[in-house]
Amino acid sequence: MNSLESSSESQPQSLREWLLSEAPTSRRQARMGSFYQGWLALKSNNLTMIGLGILLFLLFVALFAPVLAPADPFAQNLSNRLQPPGSEGHLLGTDSLGRDILSRLIYGSRITLYIVTLVALIAPVLGLFVGTVAGYLGGWVDSILMRITDIFLAFPRLVLALAFVAALGAGIENAVIAISLTAWPPYARIARAETLTIRRADYISAVQLQGAGPLRIISKHIWPLCISSLIVRVALDMAGIILAAAGLGFLGLGAQPPSPEWGAMISEGRKFLLDFWWVATIPGLAIFMVSLGFNLLGDGLRDVLDPKDSGDA
């Protein structure tokens, strides 16, 4: 409908023209247009597209794991252990208990996605909450919250996560909590900085005059404006989250055996490294690919959404 209204000067209008229109006639058109332009900028960067491709592939593999996996990831077959890649029926070989490595990798993608998604939901929300409250209320609330943030920021992340997991007990959920607890401070800083620039804006005063309380102002009028800078940060953080989760798994503090978590798989294969190299190296390659995917995408997203930071024109 909008396309018909806005096509007064040029008759036959494609979707592309509608999206790129210089004079959008509705809020929806303007918003979709700006998304489309962002997409075009993203698309022009090959590396970013490679990253996006890797992640879509990961999503696909995780969704259809039962269909794609050639074997049961937990089925042991001791007479068929430590088969090299390319042996019959095992494209990537088998591990020390005769389990098919490819199937385990495929099911492991679900665990990786699970951890990343949970951390990406918990840490930014926690940071957003702390940062906006500190920035909006100011004064001693700000001082206390930011001091706490600084203390958490001062801790080395992996060591703190180690200590948390030690206190909570090993396991995926506890690894998620530990990583989230170490990942929120940067989000709080970003959210606070954004809030400080927003809170003196005229529209906030207008809302205040209408009688809105702090809770309503923060949740309805400040949070929406902080989201975009947080998203860039999340995309860039994902790789670090994956590496941290894999590191915890490698140390035996994340997912527990027989779970096919990639870091734990490396740790299992480490014992046979010199004689049976594939058991440890193949899962590492998977971790590397996924984390590279997130880094490539995050780098490209930053170029599009925050051009001044990347230095690229």
């Binding site: 203390i151 080395p156 992340r157 060591v159 180690l162 590496l243 140390l251 490294l273 984390s291 997130f294």
Partner: protein, 356 residues
């Protein structure tokens, strides 16, 4: 960054006094914030220690202690007191350098930490050197050749470094350079024939063996450290080169660079004297942060290479539920981390006139 209040106070005084007064107050402020951060750090580790599912009394006495012995120890350890009081006991002990006794080594945690820390320091320092000497030129090159294929290649090198699970890279490195090619020494700091040959002076084997003139030990130590240090170096190179690039780009687009070029200065002088000269201070901050990151990032590398540093110490203690050692180690790493952060902050204040 000087706060608005110091600036205001400064303006009322004469220029000379104002400068030093503002500086003193900013140093005092920094010291205050160090203190608060450290107490916070200790509080968090203290809390972690308290929510542990391990009974501290049983950890000391063993599981077969009688009820009366248990109760006596419970009171002696102050566990009947409120949590906050217990925290002050803990602070008091830590302030006196007492982090408790490690169950695993049966020695004071602080002694253990002092013994293992030089190994980590040696590794992280060498790693940072590698990162700086390769990362900085790469970053400058990427900025100068911005948008070209060279820039893209350097970008990929850095992103690969960011994305690599460092413990995996360590395993692959061992497999290739030790297992297949036999170019480097294997895990550990020294080959078995060289252990305990040099007297410990600094704890840094490279320094100790050189001081003692034992060059075969020195050579063996080098062959062991070169692989883990290169891996850490690659990791820090990724960060340093990206930061150098963006700092350089900012300078290269400034007008004074155009002026310098118009004046007819050579491209070399423009880039290295003018542009690079102006990014030195922020670059030092970047390097300090990366150094701090390596001290922490070496946890996994140390485990792969059986490197007897603080990372292996904490992890081994963790896996055997030796909480005093875990918390002591965590606090020490945290304190070093804080100190490096603050050190880089201070450097910034001292060397960058705009920050005063």
């Amino acid at each position: 960054m000087a706060s608005p209040t110091t600036a205001k106070e400064g303006r009322q005084l004469s220029p000379f006094v104002s400068k030093s007064a503002a500086f003193t107050s900013s140093v005092l402020r920094t010291l205050g914030s160090i203190l608060i951060t450290m107490i916070g750090l200790l509080f968090i580790t203290f809390l972690i220690g308290r929510v542990m599912p391990i009974d501290p009394v049983i950890a000391v006495l063993g599981e077969r202690a009688s009820k009366s012995a248990y109760d006596a120890m419970f009171i002696e350890m102050g566990l009947d007191k409120p949590l906050l009081v217990q925290f002050f006991y803990y602070l008091w002990d830590v302030a006196h350098g007492d982090f408790g006794i490690s169950r695993l080594t049966a020695r004071p945690v602080i002694d253990d930490v002092m013994r293992v820390f030089p190994a980590t320091l040696e590794l992280a320092t060498l790693g940072t050197f590698i990162g700086v000497f390769i990362g900085v030129p790469l970053g400058v090159l990427a900025a100068v050749k911005r948008g070209t294929i060279i820039d893209q290649i350097i970008r990929v090198i850095a992103l690969v470094g960011y994305s690599m699970p460092i413990f995996w890279l360590g395993l692959v490195g061992l497999l290739v350079f030790y297992g297949l090619l036999d170019w480097v020494g294997g895990p550990g700091r020294l080959g078995i024939f060289y252990v305990d040959l040099v007297p410990t002076v600094t704890g840094l084997i490279l320094v100790d063996s050189a001081l003692d003139g034992q060059w075969d030990v020195f050579r063996d130590a080098i062959s062991h450290i070169v692989l883990p240090a290169s891996l850490l170096g690659y990791y820090s190179l990724a960060y340093i080169s990206r930061m150098t690039r963006s700092l350089m780009l900012e300078q290269l687009s400034a007008e004074y660079i155009t002026t310098a070029r118009v004046k007819g200065l050579s491209e070399w002088t423009v880039i290295w004297r003018h542009a690079f000269g102006n990014i030195k201070v922020p670059l030092i901050t970047v390097i300090a942060l990366s150094y701090a990151g390596l001290l922490e990032g070496s946890v996994l590398t140390e485990i792969i290479f059986s490197w007897p540093g603080i990372g292996s110490y904490i992890t081994t203690a963790l896996l055997s539920a030796d909480m005093a050692a875990v918390l002591g180690g965590t606090v020490v790493v945290g304190l070093v981390f804080v100190c490096l952060n603050i050190f880089s902050d201070l450097l910034y204040k001292v060397f960058d006139p705009r920050a005063k």
